[in-house]
Symmetry: C2
Subunit: 230 residues, 2 copies
DNA sequence: TCAAAAGTGTTCTCCCTACACCCATGG
DNA sequence: CCATGGGTGTAGGGAGAACACTTTTGA
């Protein structure tokens, strides 16, 4: 049996993609992790990911992994870095291209296949396999940067959401508190959210207005080169 | 003679680093390009770069390439993306990890070795080899993003510079015009620049005050978590 | 003396911030 | 009726934007 049939003149590293999947439960930012079933780092938690196929781009690879692990298609993903320390994988030299994904948590049924998958609040993520601790830190940093200029947050919310949910999301990502009224004012001022006629079922105390993301207006603003700011 | 002696169970892509080197000539943002001497894309211009060694991280590889091509050590570099379209290199599958470097143009003696190297103003960069056009667009986009929050611009200027030079740099990067007085006010307000007692030789019409970057104050601001804004 | 670039301060506006009271609903 | 969360407006301050004239020096 031929074991090592792919040969090159010079050494080549292996290349993987890893996907930091963020979700939002209405209160806290969550990350989807998978418990490793094999060595190395067996039993540790890690991001879903895997080797890149030779006929796919890194983005396609990341989307494929995402689909395989969560069943999600068409989620928002963005590459945020490539991690390449020579000894980051004990088996062989592996370079990973890292993406973060923003998913609507209620669309993820939970680890649908073999792998043990679980959501963790960002505060109580356990120690991770490989250099995934560092990868997570950089993913969060990138997400924080992004949300200042792009309304990526909407990717994490359901179609319809309350102003409080939106605010909680921003607060969870940026780890700061906003004044309720000022936050709503700013959001509405940009016309990025549209108020619907519906309200929440009065399941809490009082029914709250529902909003949806106004993509048209966002595209319009972007086209004009407007710089948002949060 | 054994040609292909590095063998793997699964196919591995080749991995390179490429370095988009930015400089500033006092008026326009410049990029350092190298004319390719071999196929593919012989005669086209491209960024300096090369294959990653197996014992170095991507950042080390990029710094090594930078040193080999320009003689520069210790320049500011930042990774901004990994490009992985399966057919981006006609020879074999090659993934490139892209960095941009900010260098003081007067420190670069010019292509010191074999390669034909030349500075191009951003406006008249010719069509580039591989997918380097796209890489350049993304490098510029990242630089623009960065300069809003980090005083990366100082990496491009000499130790001592005039307020006008600094303003021209910001204008070149962001492609907008500022009011001279407001710009100086904002810069001085953050205490990011310190005025020196020296002035330029009155080579233009009137001598201008010289400034230098106040790194201490910047670190101080950063430590306190201050968010700059330009 | 003229042209070209440098130095300098004020006003106005707008946006961000801080802040408090009433309303609706379920228990 | 009370507790909880939702809705709403205003006043003040600070930062950014607009803006013009004088100075220096070389040609």
């Amino acid at each position: 049996m031929e074991e090592n049939k792919y040969c090159y003149k010079y050494p080549h590293p292996a290349v993987t993609t890893d996907c930091v999947i963020f979700g939002f439960d209405g209160t806290k930012l969550q990350v989807l992790l998978i418990e490793r079933g094999i060595e190395p780092f067996k039993g540790k938690w890690a991001f879903p990911g895997g080797f890149l196929n030779m006929d796919e781009s890194a983005e396609q690879g990341a989307l494929r992994e995402l689909r395989e692990e969560t069943g999600l298609t068409g989620a928002f993903i963005e590459q945020f870095g490539c991690f390449s320390e020579p000894d980051r994988d004990p088996r062989e030299r592996v370079i990973t291209i890292a993406y973060y994904a923003l998913v609507k948590i209620q669309h993820v049924v939970g680890g649908d296949d073999a792998a043990k998958a679980r959501w963790f609040a960002l505060d109580d993520v356990p120690q991770l396999a490989f250099d995934h601790d560092r990868i997570l830190r950089e993913a969060v940093a990138r997400l924080r940067e992004r949300i200042h200029f792009k309304p990526v947050g909407f990717e994490l919310l359901p179609e319809k959401f309350t102003m409080r949910e939106l605010q909680s999301l921003y607060e969870a990502i940026l780890d700061i508190k906003f004044d309720r009224r000022n936050f709503a004012k700013k959001m509405l001022h940009f016309d990025l959210v549209t108020q619907l006629d519906e309200t929440t079922w009065p399941t809490a105390r009082r029914a709250a207005n529902l909003f949806r993301f106004n993509k048209q207006n966002y595209d319009e603003l972007k086209r004009k080169g407007f710089q948002l700011e949060f």
